[in-house]
């Protein structure tokens, strides 16, 4: 067995262990020595890249479990990447797939770590024609992404409602025309999701829109009022709302913090 330990410049907390050969009983000592060389106080996230491994013994797997335990105690983890089908089958038969997280490649493992740590939000950009019929697919896209990233049903539904309201407003109150587009930017991380919805301002409606956004008007908004309900709904469902309205365009920015109760996403 050969093990090559690589540091990750962009992610100093992570370390990649590239294995090749056979992880049999005889390789246990080298495996333990390799783990000992890693400073677990600074490198808490280990990725074992085992694409070039032809076999793994249960004793070797036990060593991986031991090292993982050490890392877990320091709020880290040990994951596997680039595992071939034979090894995956063996992992499965030993029940190890229930213990270790397995990723397709090192890049995915590093991204998962960054996501977990909230090191960098992930960004999704969408541009679509300003047509009200297209809003349902857009709001469902946002909701599905939130669910996929671990947000709960309640949060995902609220995100869907927020997106629906902002996009409908952008189309209804923005400049109309075949060539008009709406841009949606979604920044999502472990703790919060942020949206920026941008549309071209309609010069005829700009003054009315500015008046609608004045704080004095916002205080007057009642549920009986026909206009301005959307914005107050977004305010209720989100943690931050800002509208920047100019001749060039209107930008609505919304921040929604993920709701977590007893460690479970709402």
């Amino acid at each position: 067995m050969i093990v090559d330990i690589k540091e990750v410049a962009a992610t100093p907390e992570a370390v990649i262990l590239q294995f090749s050969g056979e992880l049999d009983f005889e390789s246990i000592k080298s495996l333990v020595d390799a783990f000992k060389t890693i400073d677990t106080s600074s490198r808490k996230y280990a990725i074992a890249e085992i694409g070039k491994i032809s076999m793994i013994s249960s004793a070797a797997l036990g060593e991986f479990m031991g090292f993982r335990k050490t890392l877990l105690e320091k709020d880290g983890d040990l994951v596997f990447a680039a595992m071939n089908m034979d090894i995956r089958a063996k992992f499965s038969s030993m029940g190890a797939t229930k213990i270790f997280r397995i990723f397709n490649d090192v890049r995915s493992a590093l991204n998962a770590f960054k996501w977990q740590r909230g090191l960098a939000p992930e960004v999704i950009n969408l541009t679509f024609p300003a047509n009200l019929h297209l809003v349902p697919p857009v709001r469902q896209l946002a909701s599905r992404i939130a669910k996929q990233k671990g947000y709960g049903n309640k949060d995902s539904f609220r995100i869907e409602t927020i997106i629906d309201e902002i996009c409908n407003n952008a189309i209804e109150h923005g400049k109309r025309g075949e060539d008009q587009n709406i841009s949606v930017k979604i920044d999502i991380d472990q703790k919060q999701i942020e949206f920026d919805v941008i549309n071209t301002s309609d010069p005829d409606k700009l003054e009315t829109l500015k008046a609608l956004l004045k704080p004095t008007h916002e205080q007057k908004i009642h549920s009986e009022e026909k206009r301005g309900r959307g914005l107050s709904l977004i305010k209720m469902l989100s943690d931050e709302l800002s509208v920047d309205c100019s001749e060039k365009g209107t930008v609505v920015h919304v921040k929604k913090v993920r709701e977590v109760k007893n460690g479970i996403s709402n």
């Binding site: 397709n104 890049r107 992930e122 999704i124 950009n125 679509f128 019929h133 697919p137 599905r144 996929q148």
Partner: protein, 148 residues
């Protein structure tokens, strides 16, 4: 319904397979809204899934790699362009081999391009000098008068 095609959609997302189910569903739902048949929408979903999976698995080697999906919807069909930053040399060669295979040849490239070829009118792949890979697929509406 006031829909005046062509319509253009542009999506940019992180090169991570987690995003693909939401993206392919979005394309399918947009097509349904634009009154394409469920069969057309579903087959387009399969194509988007295949091409985006290839882009993520073989075209993204850096942590911050992104995928761009551009969709033009016309009265008589749709074209998709999926762009990725390009993978390593081995993957690029594999993709080139897959492209060079003629549609009547039996092949097993493992890239899902055969399915895409089967379901589309045309498939073009361009790999530039920086390995930036762009896959363009054109699909024609099978029957405008009848819903498939």
């Amino acid at each position: 319904m006031n829909i005046q095609l062509p319509y253009k959609f542009e999506l940019s997302f992180p090169g991570d397979i987690e995003y693909i189910p939401a993206i392919r569903k979005f394309v399918s739902e947009v097509l349904l809204v634009l009154q394409f048949s469920p069969k057309f929408a579903y087959r387009s979903e399969i194509i988007v899934d295949e091409i985006c999976n290839n882009a993520v698995n073989y075209g993204c080697k850096t942590e911050d790699a992104r995928i761009d999906l551009i969709c033009n919807v016309y009265e008589d069909g749709i074209d998709f362009t999926v762009k990725d930053p390009g993978g390593d040399h081995q993957h690029i060669e594999r993709l080139k081999n897959a492209i060079s295979v003629q549609s009547d040849e039996k092949s097993n490239t493992g890239l899902g391009l055969e399915i895409v070829r089967m379901l589309s009118e045309s498939l073009n792949v361009v790999i530039d000098e920086q390995n930036l890979t762009s896959v363009r697929i054109v699909r024609k509406r099978e029957d405008i008068s009848q819903n498939n």
